[in-house]
Amino acid sequence: MGEKHLSAELGKPPGNVREAVIEGLRSRILSLERHAPRRGAWASAAQIPESAAPSAASQRGRQELGWKLGCPAVDALLPAGFEAGALHEIKGAPSTKEGASAADWMSGIGFAVRLAIRRIDALAGQERKARGERPWLLWCWPRSLSAEFGVPSAAGLLGLGLDPSRLLIVETGRASEALNAIEESLRAQSLAVVIGVLDEADLTPARRLSLAAGETATPCLLVTHPASEPAAATATRWRVKRQPTGPHVFDPRAPGASRFSIALERCKARPESAAQPAVLVEWSDETRRFDLASVVADLPAETRRVGGGAIPAAVRPH
């Protein structure tokens, strides 16, 4: 599919002109709907596959690129990847009907942090890394939540793979102020990604965030209360539940790689993707990507030791 677009764009004789035109119109309507005024008029840069992006592509184009989880099974749900200039809502799965525990929140937060790492990796090409320019990201939440979960810790973020010196932490008194700060940050064009953690976002603030994200192609990951009403005006909404960790490479009694079961509950660009069942993915700290959790590796530790051959998902070649 990506090839087809590319050929249409490069002006090569298209295989199927009609389909290409329809696809082009579709993406145009999409960009109109998202109120992204500065977007390229026809095929958005997000439609070009990551590997095929020409080296001469402007930095702006790179910034607008959608980014992927790294796991083909999930990425198939979003052919264009995570849209950069949009609002993505992430909700943990509530353990009870009325409320959510810290662990439920942490599922959503953990997924959001790893998505941010994917975004920064997608953004930071090798050449940028060499020049030592690392993008900034911003974390924003009301003080009530930071009192409950503590403050982001540099040691932990470094362990996950984020550069803590480039993290701005914003703590506001009220949730409305946090929304305000997130919107302001999205408009600044200074940040690779903005992570907001809030109880919920009403229709109007959510629309404002969505517009602000579209203006500057800065993605906004909004982690909301697991049991609250979902926000409107989001490009995607994910339901994330933390699962028992994968096996540790050396020690069967130790927690291994983090695993999440993720479900795409809403997908504006491709509604048919939203109905799919949840997928169990595993985050690898080495390759910094999600992958389908290996069922073989899930067998009890004793079985693996007898077999001796099961390779943990984290080190499996792709």
Binding site: Q59, R62, G110, W136, V151, S153, L160, S165, T172, P255
Partner: protein, 506 residues
């Protein structure tokens, strides 16, 4: 205050009420500050009186001094009832010194304040002229440039700001006018007085008045690096108009800063209201900036706090602090070809709106105890410091190894948990945190972190205790960072080891 009737302010003293201040009518009747109210009432039964409120007077005078900033940034209150303003290089803006004096006097009189103003080359001479040299019927007196000596020669020695005892002594010696002091040799002044302190006080005050000795004075506010003002014939009330003129001032200030290759660090917009009060709004910046658009955006945020009152007739925009704006910061880009702008503008805007403490960054702190190993500092201050350092983009290194299993969120203080463990030195089998029991499925550890014993050397009671950290996973897959405070053996065992939850893994 009634002006047609004799009126006095009184204060209770050792001998009943004493008069501290009188109005013009009372003064004409011969009532002077210092005499008792009973005596004054005996002579003039119609005398009205009110208790004096020196504290309120002081505050009102400070407000007036703030307002007086429109005539020059270097100004402050002078004693209990005076103001001084340094108008060096300012007079031409008002059309000359006479016009400036007229302007001050007229405005103050329109507020209902009785004024006597003096203008001279030195602060001491101006003080003397204002308080003792005003001819009857005139509101101001001015000594021409370089003629201070002649201008104050005929004034009484009280005008020299001396102690009453000094004045008394001078008068006893027959030295009643300042001019009489000019011709006495300095050595003999010291000889005539009983103590050298008194002599030197007289000489210092005389030198200061004549401009021989410098007299530095602390201004009310730090003097701005650069400032631009705009005066209006008709007071402005609408916020749109104020915003428009603030924009003009910002552009003017930005151009002036750019010319000197400076950038503003702290901005202050002062608005002088027509009723003699003044207010101001300020904004700080993390990186020196001479970008008018950015300055205006920061100030605009604070406009709702601005009370135009009866109208603003003068606006002044000060660059209170400025720094060198390096070539790299001129356009706030992170570098060639980068799609991102430097976040300093964003930080300024957020700080402006939510306060300096709300926007923080993490920086290493030189300790190995987890909660002390890193600090959250104001992003504005950190960026200001790091951008002004010679290293273009300085980021301190983190003292952590590459692969470190640490929680992404540290609780503000470790929370005690109830733990059941099979063997005392083992990781917990289950624990109760926030009233919910969690069963431990897997655990890793311990990571032993010794206490900073050197910090508790002087404290006999506080024994340092080692912490054993475990990374544990409950049945739902949530990961926690818990520690046992204290060891079972080998350490002070008077207190049983206790368990705490310190962080959550994301």
């Amino acid at each position: 205050m009634p002006s047609r009737q004799p009126f006095a302010l009184i204060e209770s003293g050792a001998h009943g009420f004493a008069i501290t201040a009188v109005n013009g009518e009372a003064a004409r009747l011969g009532i002077e500050p210092g005499i008792s109210l009973a005596d004054a009432r005996a002579a003039h039964p119609g005398l009205l009186s009110r208790p004096a409120e020196p504290e309120k007077d002081r505050i009102a005078l400070l407000k007036l001094a703030r307002w007086a900033g429109r005539y020059g940034p270097n100004r402050h209150v002078d004693g209990k009832d005076g103001l001084w303003i340094d108008i060096t290089g300012v007079a031409h803006l008002f059309g000359g010194e006479e016009a400036l004096l007229d302007d001050i006097v007229q405005r103050l009189q329109s507020f209902g304040i009785a004024v006597q103003a003096g203008l001279a080359d030195t602060l001491g001479a101006a003080h003397a002229l204002a308080r003792f040299g005003c001819p009857p019927g005139a509101a101001w007196v001015m000594s021409p440039i370089m003629e201070t000596r002649e201008a104050i020669a005929s004034l009484p020695v009280e005008a020299l700001r001396l102690d009453p005892s000094c004045v008394l002594l001078l008068k006893r010696l027959g030295l009643k006018r300042i001019g009489q002091l000019y011709d006495i040799p300095r050595d003999s002044v010291a000889r005539r007085f009983r103590s050298s302190d008194v002599a030197s006080a007289v000489l210092v005050r005389l030198d200061q008045a004549l401009g021989v000795a410098e007299e530095p004075r602390k201004p009310m506010q730090p003097l701005p690096v650069l400032s631009v003002t705009r005066a209006f014939a008709e007071p402005l009330i609408s916020s749109e108009a104020l915003e428009a003129f603030t924009g003009e001032l910002a552009a003017e200030l930005a151009a002036a800063l750019a010319e000197k290759d400076l950038g503003a660090r702290v901005l202050r917009l002062t608005f002088y209201r027509a009723d003699g009060t003044a207010g101001s709004i300020a904004a700080a910046m993390s990186t020196p900036s001479h970008d008018a658009r950015h300055m205006l955006a920061l100030l605009k945020e604070k406009f709702p706090d601005m009370d135009a009152g009866f109208g603003v007739d003068l606006l002044r925009l000060d660059a209170v602090r400025a720094g060198e704006s390096g070539a790299t910061q001129k356009r706030f880009t992170a570098g060639e070809g980068s799609p991102f702008r430097h976040p300093s503008e964003l930080i300024d805007r957020l700080v402006n709106r939510f306060g300096n403490a709300a926007i923080t960054v993490l920086r290493p702190n030189g300790s190995h105890i987890p909660e002390r190993a890193e600090v959250r500092l104001s992003a504005l201050d950190v960026l200001a410091a790091e951008s002004s350092s010679r290293v273009s983009s300085y980021a301190p290194p983190w003292p952590y190894p590459k692969r470190l299993e640490r929680p992404a969120f540290l609780l503000a203080r470790p929370e005690p948990i109830e733990v059941t463990a099979g063997v005392p030195a083992d990781p917990p089998k289950s624990f109760i945190w926030r009233r919910v029991e969690r069963r431990v499925v897997r655990a890793e550890g311990p990571e032993r972190i010794a206490s900073e014993w050197w910090l508790s050397l002087d404290d006999e009671k506080k024994k340092p205790r080692t912490r054993d950290y475990y990374r544990i996973e409950d049945q739902k897959g949530a990961l926690y960072w818990v520690f046992r405070h204290g060891l079972y053996e080998g350490e002070d065992t008077s207190e049983r080891p206790s368990w705490f939850l310190h962080g959550l893994f994301a």
